[in-house]
Structure formats: structure tokens, C-alpha cells
Symmetry: C2
């Protein structure tokens, strides 16, 4: 069964539920999972955030609920339309479409929130009803995929076809995996480093699927990473800058974000952060800069987060506090363009 | 002759010139075009910025010149190496490689400046010696290209192969155009709008090559746009947000930037800005927001710039001052997902 069908089925189920209430002359109401802090729980066993059992009820008996309930139903009908017409959209787009109806949407944060609610009611990420982020990251791999989007059904492409890497947009994110020679996935924070890995044939030397996260990985990309891990059973390794932001880019790929606790399809708990470590800065004498106040503040926040309580996180956070410096992935260019792939990566993966 | 060969030839010429001076026991020196404000001239006839006739001399007789002269020679030798080894790099990479040598590079702005100097001495944009920007934009078109990068020589791909669009990286930027059914180029500021244009088959309906500029178009993209205009003789139309920043995104594609006056290969003087116009905000009753102080300030700057002295620029800048509002491309979503392509675009291109 296609994932989209599941989302569509839930949406239609939702609509039928409301319809039945109306036909029975009951004021329509809906139950939705609570997304408050006390209902967002880090599931140690699963390795990512989940929503707890608490529920909220939106009922048209309550005048205050009328607006958000109507907005939710409108967004649900829009979502069904997007699925049926095979069109993609963005959060921004939906906000502007909301401007075209008279349902009292104040600003984009309001339509964004309603979309998140729909995700939690339906139990599917918004990408399943074709609402995508703007940002695009990229992939390069000996992996053959088959498109499922309209006009391209059944067409295949190998992800080494374009040496600049293929953009991870709606079409790639929803494609079917056909065949790969790769036995691992390497996620890379920086575009320059991704291009380096392609040019230095890191993908061939290490049989790796290369993914450019473009900073914080967009949701469609995190989902693709999970699919590679789960469907193809490939281990996932993440390389970031050696700074608190790089740590968190890796952590979000691994355990998801609290914001998206209701869509666990975005986490890859088995993925591993492989550097650049704070300790590499000294070991490789990397060009580095002083940690700023904002970096220190962020490190203190991470230290309190239980997901950072184990090594390598804990060890490296302490190391950052000791050396008080940070470095970028490109810092390895000091040793020439091949060093990162031929020396560092080889050692780290061993 | 491949473009790269021209850059390589100039660099080797430069090296031979220095060598000859050394062999004749003269202190090495180099002449370079002055890039000061009074030597950056807007060429009305050509429609873009050019450097004037003024030159500066860097000579090792002058102790103050020693450092920048040595740095320039080092960057030139690095550039030749990048060409010979068929490797690409970024400004950031070059800075880190500079950290590996002991030539007194203080920070990235210093290595960036030296690279710009090399461009002006050699007379080729840095992309010709394989130094690329990080940002990536995208293209979707019935255009078949042939790669020239190592490992892909002679391989062809049609730019409709990937429905998410193909990234404009080093490989695509240096490819050869083989065949196209398109008769125009549409440049689009926003990714969501680009995806819309692909999905709504705007490329087919209007026989258009679609380019996503991703905000301010990266240099490699501006160069590709020029090549499409010059080599394939295709008219270029630019669609941006209706705000001062959108105006300037279009203007930079058309006339280049003052910063890059020494590399006219980046301008497409015949390209035309086609909207979203300030006047569209009222005509189409688009959702819009108030111009901020920073927008007003920017509009006042543009008003003083002679490139904005003619219509549609002049007319639309005045319109902005009248209505004091701005709008995004996605604002057309108010009328549904097809309106922009089926109504607005059709009318504007007619």
C-alpha cells in the first residue's frame, strides 16, 4: 500500500466521522493528541520523541473551539485535494491559500499550527499529503530509484546520473528503491564537502550513499535517511562541523525533534555521529575559531538534554568546554583536497 | 576551445612573465586592473558594469606589496592545480588551504579578495578555475546537455530526467548544450513557485527552460542564464517577489553587479523582468504586507541607481512608494495552485 493512501484514508475517515455527527444532529467534535510539553516524551527504547497518551477534544459546542475546528477541517479537505490532484505545496503556499478563504487565519504561524494538528490527528507527516519544505538537500549514490509521481510513474534513474547530485524534492522523497551497490549512508552537513566526496569518489571507495543535509536536514531528507536505514538496512553515519550546531544536526537526524514527536517516521535512532569531533581539532591541528558566547550557551543547553548524556556526545561536549574552540568540515582542506576522504574518513569508519 | 583552457593559458602566461623577470634579475611585478569605485563604469551600450582603463602595479620593490603579490601567485598556482586535477573548490575551501601555507592570510575576506584579483588579472571568472559558490539553484527543461567533467565526458542527460529539477553545480554549469525544444528561459526566485511551474507543466505549455534562482542567483547560475541567451539565442524572462529585493535579483541577472564588473560573462543585458510588479498587488488583490523601513530605504537606494531610471523599473518603484506594500510570488496561491501559470503567466508573456 502506498503511504499516501494511508494518509488519504485517515483524512476521509475523519470527514466521515464529522459527517456522521452532523447527520445525527450532534455538534461536530474531534479528539486530538495533546502536543504540550508534558505529553512529549523521549522514548528511551525507541530512541526518539513520542507523544504520550493525553488527548484534547475540539468541539463545536465550545465557541472558542469553532475557529480552530473549522480551520482543521478546511486544511484536511485541502490535503485530500492535494493528494487527489497529485500536486505539491509548501507551508507558505497553504497560508496564502488560507487567505483566499474566510476562516480567520491570522498569520502563517496559525496555518502552520493547524497543519501540525492535522499531522497528529491523521498520524502521518505532512509530506504524505504533499506539503513540503522549501529547502532542498541532495543525494549522490549508486542507487536506482523508480518514481511514483504523476507523469513519471515507473521511470527509473540511477542517482549517479548527475555529477552535481540530485535534489531531494517531493519526487525523489516518494520514489521506490530498486537497486543499490551501497552498504552504508554518509550524511554530510556542508555542500562543499559533499561535492568533494563526489569528486574524490568517496561513494565508490566506501560503497556509500552520499547525502548533503544542507545544514539542518529538511524533513523530507530525514525521512529518506530513515527509509534507507529501515528499508535497505543500511547503517547511517553523519559528518558535521565541530560545533554545537553540528552536534544537533546529527542528533535531530538520529532522534528527531520535540516539535515532530507526533511523526516518528522522521527519526533514525540507529544512525551514528562520526565527527568532526572537538577532539579532532587538536589531533589534526585544524584551523579553528574561538567558541562564541552563543556557542557556549548552546553547549550548556545540550548538556542538560538527556539525549546528550552518553558518549560520544558527553565526551565531546566536555572537550568543547576544555578547548573552547570550534572548526568547520572544510578545515581539513588545510591538508589538501583529498585528505578528508583518504585519511580522516578511512580512519573514522574503520 | 574549452573555456577552462583560456583561464589556464592566462595563468601559465602570468607565471612565465614572473619567471622571466626573475631570470632577468628584475624584482617581480604584475599589472592589474584597478577595481576602485572610480574605475567601475556602467557601460550603457553593453548594458552592464565594466572596469575602466586604470591599472595598478604590484611590485616586489615595494615592501607593502610583497605579501599580496606572493598571495596572488600562490592562488594562481592553486588555480592551475585545480584545473589540471579537475577538482572543484569553494571560496571557503581556498581560505582553509591558505591556512595550510604560511603566507599571512588573515581571514577569508583576504583570500576572497585575492581570488577576485586573480579573476581580474586573468580575465576569467573564478568558476573557470573551478572555484564555485556553495549555494545551488536548479533547472528543469527539455534540454539535453553533455557533461565535460572528468568521468562523465560525453555522457548526456535530458534536464527533464528528475522531476525535482537538476542542481546547477559545477558539472551542469560546464556542460555543453546539445538539443532543446524550448524557445525561452523563465527564471523564478522561489523554490515553491519553481516546483509549481514544473508540476503545472509550465515548461511544456510555454516551451520554457525553468531556472530556480534560489533568491539572488549564484554566479554559476547567472553564467548559465547568459549562455542560454547567447549560445541558444533564447529570450530570458525573470519572475521575482514584488519587493525591492526581487527587483534587484532581476537587475543583477540582467546587468551584473558592481563587484563583478571585471567578469562581464555573468550579465545577460537582454533579459527582462516580468513581475511580480507592485501594480499587480492591486490589480490581482494579492495578499500583501506593509513595506518595512528597510524596504523603503532600499527602494530609495535603487531610485538613485541609473539602471533603475527606465520603465518598468522606474514606474514600479514609484508604484511601491504609492501603495507602500509588498507581496511574494506565492501570494497567487490565494487563487489556487494553477492560477499563476494558467492566468498570470499567460497574460504577462503575451
Amino acid at each position: 500500500m502506498k503511504k499516501e493512501s494511508k494518509a488519504r484514508k485517515s483524512i476521509v475517515g475523519l470527514a466521515l466521522e464529522i459527517l456522521e455527527q452532523v447527520e445525527n444532529r450532534q455538534p461536530p467534535s474531534l479528539e486530538l493528541p495533546l502536543r504540550t510539553v508534558d505529553n512529549i516524551i523521549f522514548d528511551e527504547r525507541k530512541g526518539h520523541y513520542v507523544l504520550g497518551p493525553k488527548k484534547a477534544v475540539r468541539t463545536s459546542r465550545n465557541v472558542k473551539h469553532l475557529k480552530p475546528l473549522t480551520q482543521l477541517i478546511w486544511v484536511a479537505s485541502l490535503a485530500r485535494k492535494l493528494i487527489d490532484e497529485d500536486k505539491t505545496s509548501t507551508l507558505r503556499d497553504v497560508f496564502y491559500m488560507a487567505e483566499g478563504v474566510d476562516l480567520g487565519f491570522e498569520d502563517q504561524s496559525e496555518s502552520d499550527r493547524i497543519i501540525t494538528e492535522l499531522e497528529s490527528v491523521v498520524g502521518s507527516p505532512r509530506e504524505d499529503f504533499n506539503i513540503y519544505p522549501e529547502e532542498r538537500s541532495a543525494i549522490f549514490a549508486d542507487l536506482t530509484i523508480e518514481y511514483t509521481v504523476k507523469g513519471y510513474e515507473g521511470r527509473r534513474i540511477n542517482l549517479t546520473s548527475h555529477p552535481d547530485g540530485l535534489m531531494i524534492g517531493p519526487a525523489l522523497a516518494t520514489s521506490r528503491f530498486v537497486k543499490t551497490s551501497a552498504d552504508k549512508v554518509l550524511c554530510i552537513e556542508k555542500g562543499a564537502m559533499f561535492t568533494r566526496f563526489v569528486e574524490e569518489k568517496a561513494w565508490k571507495k566506501y560503497n556509500a550513499i552520499l547525502i548533503h543535509t544542507a545544514g539542518q536536514a529538511p524533513r523530507a531528507t530525514r525521512r529518506l535517511i530513515r527509509r534507507l536505514n529501515v528499508e535497505l538496512d543500511l547503517p547511517v553515519y553523519i559528518f558535521t562541523d565541530a560545533d554545537p550546531w553540528g552536534l544537533h544536526i546529527a542528533q535531530v537526524i538520529i532522534s528527531g525533534s520535540a516539535n515532530a514527536a507526533h511523526v516518528p517516521e522522521l527519526a533514525t535512532p540507529k544512525a551514528r555521529w562520526m565527527g568532526v569531533y572537538a577532539s579532532d581539532i587538536e589531533e589534526y591541528k585544524l584551523p579553528s575559531t574561538k567558541l562564541l558566547d552563543v556557542d557556549i550557551k548552546r553547549l550548556n543547553e545540550l548538556k542538560k538534554d538527556k539525549r546528550y548524556a552518553k558518549d560520544p556526545w558527553k565526551r565531546e561536549i566536555n572537550r568543547f568546554f576544555e578547548i573552547k574552540r570550534k572548526a568547520e568540515q572544510e578545515a581539513f582542506s588545510k591538508y589538501g583536497l583529498s585528505f578528508m576522504v583518504d585519511v580522516y574518513l578511512k580512519k573514522r569508519l574503520a
